[in-house]
Amino acid sequence: MNILSVQNLKKHFGGVRAVDGCSLTIKTGTVMGLIGPNGAGKTTMFNLISGFAKGSGKIIFKGRPTDNLPPYKVAQRGMVRTFQIPHALTKMTVLDNLMLAPKAQAGERIWNVWLRPQSVKTQDIRIKEKSRDVLRFFEIEHLENEYAGALSGGQKKLLEMARAIMIDPSLMLLDEPFAGVNPTLSRKISEYIDELRESGMTFLIIEHDIPAITRISDRITVMNAGKIMTEGTPDEVKQNRDVLNAYLGDEG
């Protein structure tokens, strides 16, 4: 079954066609890599799919269209994204960053804070426990009381992934999870993604680190100049001559 199906997506900034008629589908429980040279339109694709930018075309997520929804409603449907530059909430603690995320918390409504303090409290304790489990999964549980501003770049990436998982997404869009991360951490991030995929999560991942993305992806889509160039298994993509010319070059 396809969790996401995007048809003929278009977005232009003035005369620049950032995304020019792109279509792609992702099967539930798989990892799709999205690669292409800088300026190919990958991040614009992300913005369109997650509702942060409006263009034209159809986006069907879990069988329902999402192309007219604001980003928060797309997220409520179970699609979460991270950003190329990590958006850690630096003035909140690591634990608060995670506890912010879960959907439909009773304590997010003022009247519940007043009228049902007990259920708000018990839910908050449950969320705290879950946050600690997720922090343990990413092996950053020792940082829970640190302000996120004190974290290193790599730790911020982990924090952002951890926070995204807190909303129990069915589809995660990761924007360059391996960029600026040391080889050890990079390997760990691949392991985390593998493990989450085995638990049923679907991924769409933008990445420039070709060895890393070919290692974890089931299929790879290549973009160039706002268009989809090709799509296939990592091996097929690696052997595609056009891709080699346009992007991979000496790496292939």
Partner: protein, 305 residues
């Protein structure tokens, strides 16, 4: 000794009365700015709406308690009304619209005499416990009432900002993209914050009317907004405790300068300016050495990076 007490005690009571009113007023701003990052430069408008609504409702025959509730709710409604068109825009627009709104409102109060009696002001409305408490204990009773109100507002706000609701506000304050990407309706939270902050300012307005027993448009000049800002920044942005302390410090300083008045070669007018210079100097020193304010947390300072 007795004479001394008789002079000092009412004086202290007066300072405390004013401080509690401004503490409530500034707590509303602290919710908007300190916890949500909304820049409201027209906070005084909601003070005015609260004061005028309370006074006019009471003069129209509404019991005093209900009038105060009416003033609070009315200010909150105006907060909503102002927030709906502006909070979807970038934050600077809220600053511009609120400062404009507060001045427009003041001119309406000044010119629509059929409604507000214009520059003549409004008086003759009830005082709390007016026939119950003898005159000499009046201010102290009023102070007890105001402190009770302050405690209720303070504890309510503390409960809110430490709830999951407050957590979302703090995330909005820092980076709207994050709560949006996590499925939070940022606009709705900003609107709630502005409406509650405005309602609290309205309550402070009702308190001010009850204390002064006379209100006119001149009571609600733009400088009142900036007193609230000074209080919040002084006490510590995003600290409710700090806001209360800030209000006490500001009004103690304002009043204390009266004691050095005779020793300075200033006219009353110059003295007013001198006081503001002193406050300004104090704020500058504070910003240089402790920009997070007295009770603020440096790690949570909204505008630091």
């Amino acid at each position: 000794m007795i004479e001394y007490v008789c002079v000092v005690f009412p004086y202290v009571t007066t300072i405390l009365l004013i401080s509690t009113i401004y503490a409530v007023f500034a707590l509303g701003l602290n919710l908007e700015w300190g916890f949500t990052g909304l820049i409201n430069f027209g906070h005084v408008a909601f003070l005015a709406i609260g004061a005028y609504t309370t006074a006019m409702l009471n003069l129209g025959g509404c019991p005093l308690v209900l009038s105060v509730v009416g003033g609070t709710v009315m200010a909150g409604l105006f907060g909503l009304l102002l927030g709906i068109p502006t909070l979807r825009l970038r934050e600077d627009y809220l600053a511009i619209v609120t400062v404009g709104f507060s001045e427009v409102l003041r001119f309406i109060l000044l010119n629509e005499e059929w409604l507000t009696r214009g520059p003549f002001g409004i008086y003759g409305f009830d005082r709390p416990f007016q026939d119950v408490i003898p005159c000499q204990y009046y201010n102290i009773s009023l102070l007890i009432l105001f402190v009770a109100i302050l405690i209720i507002v303070y504890t309510s706000l503390e409960k809110l900002v430490h709830s999951p609701w407050g957590r979302v506000l703090k995330s909005v304050r820092e980076d709207e993209t994050v709560p949006a990407a996590l499925g939070k309706n940022v606009f709705s939270y900003k609107l709630q914050s502005l409406a509650i902050g405005s309602a609290i300012a309205g309550l402070a307005g009702a308190m001010l009317a009850l204390y002064l027993q006379y209100i006119d448009p001149g009571t609600f000049k733009p400088v009142e907004t900036f007193y609230a800002w000074i209080i919040v920044i002084l006490g510590g942005t995003a600290s409710n405790k700090g806001t209360i302390v800030g209000a006490l410090i500001l009004w103690t300083l304002f009043s204390a300068t009266k004691f050095i008045n005779p020793y300075l070669p200033f006219t009353a007018h110059q003295m007013g300016a001198f006081r503001m210079i002193m406050i300004g100097l104090l704020l500058m020193l504070l910003m240089m050495h402790k920009p997070e304010g007295i009770f603020g947390k440096k790690e949570e300072l909204a505008l630091s990076d």
